[in-house]
Amino acid sequence: MSISERITLEHGSGGALSRQLTEQLIYPILKNDAYGELADATPFQIRGRAFITTDTYVVDPPFFPGGDIGTLGIFGTCNDLAVCGARPRYLTMGLILEEGFLTADLRRVLESVRAAAEQVGVLVISGDTKVVPSGKGGGIFLNTTGVGEALGDHLLSVNNIREGDSVLVSGPVGSHGLAILASREDLKIGATLRSDCAPLFPLCEALYALGGKLRFMRDATRGGVAAVLNEAVAENRKCGMEIQETAFPISGTVAAASDLLGLNPLEIANEGVMIAVVAPEAATEALSLLRSFEAGREACRVGVANGRYPGRVILETAVGGRRILDLPRGLLLPRIC
């Protein structure tokens, strides 16, 4: 018997239809050597120190230019591991589907999950599926928990940051949030806005080789680079940062769209961009390493850590003025005013 066109509550209830969904759709797409059988728990080995992280993805719409909730679910969690200096190894995946979700759409998401996992070299080895009544979810919610292996003993932390350190960005900013906003609000802002959703592990692995000269990395997701920079200085009370507005790579399309919507690219979410802070003498090498990858092609230095205004991020503007770059606040809503 084939699976129905739409997901029903029964598909999440643990009975025959649940089994059918797992055995006929989910498992065939995701199965791998480590996911040998459908048991309650999956054994696995990790060498040395392990890192673990979890993230839940509720992006609406679930399909957007440049990716979908499946791609995000894999890259996002793996990037969280990567920026902490860990090689992503295994993921679990929990799905919450709204009754009525199209089975064909579920298949699309699962294919994206498989492709993304393959690209990163990570294995999905456990999962769960629940179905909720319609009206209780945005179609599909996804949680992934990721486990990674430490690349080395050196622990990255904002507290490693010292005065004089160079602040680097790995690529052009502002794409992901704008792509989501444009497709959600049907803003007719052309097909050229695409999410930058991408795996950062290769870049992180390359930088980790700098040892103690690499102080800290973080991917610039919600709140954009502005959020990451502010978080870094808030936790590390010794330093502030001075950043050059014009140093950030921003595509013409993102600049035009954010002008149109009254938004600041530095505050918009990314899914394939990170901030790295390195010792000043390692900056040139770090940039060269980043630029050897497609996702880091446009990496550049955007500023410096200094002790002048601890806890604050100061932005030097295009005309040479100075102002605070604040933590983004509230919902990302386009302005006309």
Binding site: Y309, T317, A318, V319, G321, R329, L331, C337
Partner: protein
């Protein structure tokens, strides 16, 4: 390219003794000046004071209360620009809370009203706020809807016009202003004529200014030069966008749909003939009438001095609630609520000693 203009500003400022207070009227100017860092580059004796040109800031809280009331007591869909969705009503609730349930829709453009109304079985109410830059776009969309035979679209108007507010500021007995930076995009629509009263006795110079960093510097330099020379003219420093006669076609569309009315401004109170509402031929589409909404009224939260901030009499940092009880996350008054509000801009972009 900013350097020569900055030099000009420095030299002109040096020729003026005492503190110069220039009011930039438009909320978008408030944000642009701070976001571009121009604020930090000005000589110490030049004080840029923000004015009431933030449509969200000058809309009374009771407007949001009425919109929430509509959502609770009718099946109407409420449609709004993004700017209004986070503004709290008197009990702290806002419209954004209703976004997920389909009762509130956000639009970027009034042209989106047509498909929304067409796809709706029930009444669709648009929160029609804005100054002369926005008003023609809403008017055009509404008239298009009418021509298309759409009958379920209602406007809850709180449109306001800028020149009457400038007049109130100018005529105020204890005013402390030496010049205005006039709103560039409002002027695209209305042109130079409505500001001529500034040239009468007791007036001050006004310079129509654009929004790019160089435009801001150019406008500031121009108004300072007039102040230094004792001139008192309406000057256009945004000539690539503003024509002396503005945009007559846009004004004609506004006049076809709307007529002047008295309006209630938060902070200023009632200003005669400072608002625009649906003309007689379209009154059945007026949401306030159709839904018998209570009239707007002003009530200021205790301790809030937004009324005086909006008039340029008090700086955000001089308000006792600023940054303590009143922050962008927990706003007390309108100047902190709106992303363009004077206090929000001051809080977010900071007053930094370089």
């Amino acid at each position: 390219m900013a350097a020569p203009l900055l030099e000009e500003i420095k030299q002109t400022a040096a020729d003026i003794s005492g503190i110069v207070r220039v009011m930039e009227v438009c909320g978008t100017h408030t944000v642009a000046i701070r976001r571009s860092g121009v604020h930090s580059l000005l000589p110490e004796n030049i004080l840029l004071v923000s004015g009431p040109g933030c449509p969200v800031c000058v809309t009374p809280t009771s407007y949001i209360d009425n919109a929430l009331h509509l959502l609770e007591t009718t099946k109407a869909t409420v449609v709004s620009f993004g700017d209004m969705l986070k503004v709290p009503g008197s009990d702290g609730r806002n419209l954004a809370g209703y976004l997920g349930r389909g009762r509130v829709r956000m639009v970027y453009s009034p042209s989106e009203l047509l498909p929304i109304a067409q796809d709706s079985a029930g009444e669709v109410v648009f929160l029609a706020i804005g100054f002369e830059t926005t008003i023609p776009t809403v008017a055009a969309a509404f008239l298009q809807a009418r021509r298309a035979g759409i009958e379920n679209l209602y406007l809850y108007t709180a449109f306001k016009t800028v020149p009457p507010a400038l007049r109130v500021l100018l005529d105020s007995p204890d005013r402390n202003l030496d010049g205005f930076l006039l709103p560039g995009h409002v002027s695209v629509i209305i042109g130079e004529q409505p500001y001529r009263f500034l040239e009468e006795r007791g007036g001050v110079p006004g310079v129509i200014t654009g929004f790019e960093p160089l435009d801001l510097l150019q406008g500031i330099s121009a108004v300072l030069k007039q102040i230094a020379r004792g001139e008192q003219r309406v000057e256009n420093a945004y000539t690539r966008a503003v024509r002396p006669n503005g945009n007559p076609k846009a004004r004609e569309i506004m006049e076809r749909l709307l007529e002047p009315v008295d309006a209630l401004w938060r902070g200023f109170g009632r200003i005669p003939a400072s608002g625009l509402a649906l003309g007689r031929a379209f009154r059945e589409a007026d949401a306030e009438l159709h839904f018998s909404l209570p009239p707007l009224y002003n009530v200021e939260p205790p301790g809030c001095v937004c009324a005086r901030v909006l008039q340029g009499r008090v700086l955000p940092t001089e308000c006792t609630l600023f940054g303590k009880r009143c922050t962008p996350e927990t706003p007390v008054g309108p100047c902190m609520v709106s992303s363009e509000g004077t206090c929000a801009a001051s809080f977010r972009y900071g007053d930094l000693e370089p």
